[in-house]
């Protein structure tokens, strides 16, 4: 004790000091590149920001930026509603698809490594500039031609024609074609989620399935009684991850709108106000989802 006192530190506080030493880079970064800009962001959203030589001036304008975004800008509200709707649809589809794909990938078959590598490709290329270009091309084609030319995975017309031939009523046609058309997007948005579920599958003890098998459970039953409950924490993780992923993805028109408003649109203040309202809505949605879903999440330990 006396030895420790000489340095003014007991052993435990010395150890906790090292904790801070290791975490120091993040503490500095969090304050400088997260908290500080966050506060600035709040200030910008209630200000008029004008760039002058060697800096910028802020003038307090109250909530007028928010009012501008909501009532003057003719696109913001529409894009906001559309984006949120699309997000809910996408998150649901991604979740179901990734669970399904992971359970397929988890079984043993020849060429499993190759298939896994292919499924990993979107993690590596599914973000950033390539994805952005593809999305822009797609939107462009829809704008110019009203439909996609034969460069997509399936041709829209061929699919519609096929469905007509097998006698699908025309009212359902549009819906089915759209769903099928969304599949490539969903598959490529599911890469990380599939990996998470795969790791989850591997952490479930095999003995559980064996004893279920001995008791005469079918595969279907053991999926719902064993796999599903044990995976439920990961389902929650994946819901949150998919939602967050949607925030910054080039699939997201809101991000483009916010950026366009900042650089060359109605200005920095309005853009931050837009980002804040978007963020508030999405956080609210995530909170609701987390609260609702975590009621039936099952924890093994």
């Amino acid at each position: 004790m006396r030895r420790g006192r000489r340095f003014g530190l007991s052993l435990t506080s010395k150890m906790s000091m090292y904790g801070y030493v290791f975490a120091l880079p993040f503490i500095v970064g969090f304050i400088l590149f997260f908290l500080y800009p966050m506060v600035q962001s709040v200030i910008f959203s209630v200000s008029d920001l004008v760039i002058r030589r060697g800096g910028y001036d802020l003038e307090y304008v109250g909530l007028s930026n928010y009012r501008y975004a909501l009532f003057v800008d003719d696109k913001y509200v529409r894009v906001l509603v559309e984006t949120l709707g699309k997000m809910l649809g996408d998150v649901g589809a991604v979740l179901i698809f990734s669970l399904f794909a992971a359970s397929l990938l988890n079984s043993r078959f020849k060429g499993r490594t190759l298939v896994r590598v292919i499924f990993l490709l979107p993690v590596i290329f599914g973000s950033g500039v390539i994805m952005r270009i593809e999305e822009a091309d797609y939107r462009n084609q829809v704008l110019v031609m009203g439909t996609e030319v034969g460069t997509g995975v399936f041709s829209r017309e061929a699919l519609a024609g096929f469905l007509m031939q097998i006698g699908i009523p025309e009212t359902m046609l549009e819906y089915i074609v759209n769903v099928v058309y969304g599949i490539p997007r969903i598959i490529r948005a599911s890469a990380i989620q599939i990996l998470i579920f795969l790791a989850g599958f591997q952490s479930i003890p095999k003995s559980l399935y064996e004893s279920a098998d001995v008791e005469g459970a079918t595969r279907w039953e053991s999926f719902w009684k064993i796999t599903f409950p044990l995976l439920s924490p990961l389902i929650l993780t994946n819901i949150v991850y998919s939602t967050v992923d949607f925030f910054g993805s080039p699939r997201n028109e809101m991000i483009e709108k916010i950026r366009a408003t900042a650089f060359g649109g109605a200005g920095y203040g309005v853009s931050t106000a837009m980002a804040f309202m978007y963020f508030a809505l999405v956080s609210f949605l995530i909170t609701v989802i987390v609260v609702v879903v975590s009621r039936w999440v099952f924890y093994h330990e």
């Binding site: 150890m15 969090f30 400088l32 499924f119 490709l121 460069t151 998470i196 795969l198 978007y278």
Partner: protein
């Protein structure tokens, strides 16, 4: 006649057993459906890349020739030559490579330190710091985009430098600073991965090192780090790849610099036509190629370490 059918049935069963190792018709159906689904999904994933590669070798006539679908009839390398010159590929490649390596290395260092500290030391505020790391991951980047842009445009070390500040845009500094302080692109995820990894390592390793007289720093560098290559590998690779692909931050901090993402999106703006442009596709292939080479050599690490680092706890 019934005997013949029974015979045929048992023959089918035996063949299936021998050939594919399945024991019932239901099982066979499952295997077939699974194969069809997996092949279909792989096709969808690989399709855009294959179609880009095939189109990048097409000459102008091939693009407008409806009978040419996959294999170019008059293959040409002109698209690559044009894209190479238009993008100033050599310099853009070098810059992007330098940036991605630097960001990968710095993120690796900072996130490993932070992850280790959070995994192995108990100190007041530990939970809070971890929550902060997750928060940086969850906040949409567009919320911080404008303040960050302003701070780097008029960088004055938060009031320490005199008024005009330094313009750090179009330099590596914004990326270097954020990744050195574990707040760069998806660094929250890397902190999480490192924390999970170190939490799973046995404590006796460190205890043995302490007893042999190593301090915490020495223990970390000569005992813990040598045990962590899979996690280190995955963090570096992902950080490298995501920085390489990144358009969001690159277009904010480096809009006027010729790095590959900017060069490629400029190329698209200049050469896009309604039928898609083979030059843009050649540019895309040249953009992906370095990553594809790295991936081809290291895919084992990508796949394995996702299993092993306990990405999910």
């Amino acid at each position: 006649m019934p005997g013949a059918i029974a015979n045929a049935k048992s023959w089918i069963r035996r063949t299936m057993n021998r050939r594919i190792g399945v024991s019932s018709v239901g099982e066979l159906l499952f295997v077939v459906i699974r194969a069809v689904l997996l092949i279909g999904m792989c096709y969808i994933i690989v399709f855009p890349m294959v179609s880009k590669i095939s189109s990048s070798f097409m000459s102008g006539e091939d693009i407008y020739d409806n009978t040419v679908r996959w294999i170019p009839r008059r293959p040409t390398l002109n698209n690559y030559r044009d894209a190479f010159y238009e993008m100033e590929y050599g310099w853009a490649l070098l810059r992007s490579l330098a940036l991605a390596v630097a960001v990968g290395a710095l993120s690796l260092m900072s996130c490993t330190l932070v992850g280790y500290g959070l995994a192995r030391y108990r100190f007041p505020g530990r939970e809070l710091i971890f929550a902060g790391a997750i928060l940086t991951l969850v906040i949409p980047p567009s919320l911080l985009m404008i303040p960050m842009y302003m701070n780097f445009r008029f960088f004055n070390l938060y009031g320490l430098l005199p008024e005009p500040g330094v313009n750090l845009l179009n330099s590596f500094w914004p990326f270097l600073m954020t990744s050195a302080t574990a707040t760069g692109l998806r660094n929250g995820l890397f902190i999480y991965i490192m924390r999970q990894y170190f939490s799973g390592m046995p404590r006796n390793l460190e205890e043995a090192a302490y007893i042999d007289g190593a301090g915490p720093i020495r223990t970390f560098f000569s005992v813990m780090l040598p045990c962590a290559p899979p996690a280190l590998m995955i963090v570096f690779l992902f950080s490298f790849v995501w920085q390489w692909n990144d358009y969001f931050y690159t277009s904010i901090y480096m809009a006027g610099t010729n790095v590959l993402p900017m060069a490629l999106s400029q190329l698209r703006q200049d050469f896009i036509t309604q039928l898609g442009s083979p030059i843009v596709n050649a540019g895309s292939v040249m953009f992906i190629l370095p990553i594809l080479i790295i991936f081809a050599f290291l895919q084992r690490y990508f796949v394995e370490s996702v299993d092993r680092t306990g990405l999910v706890g």
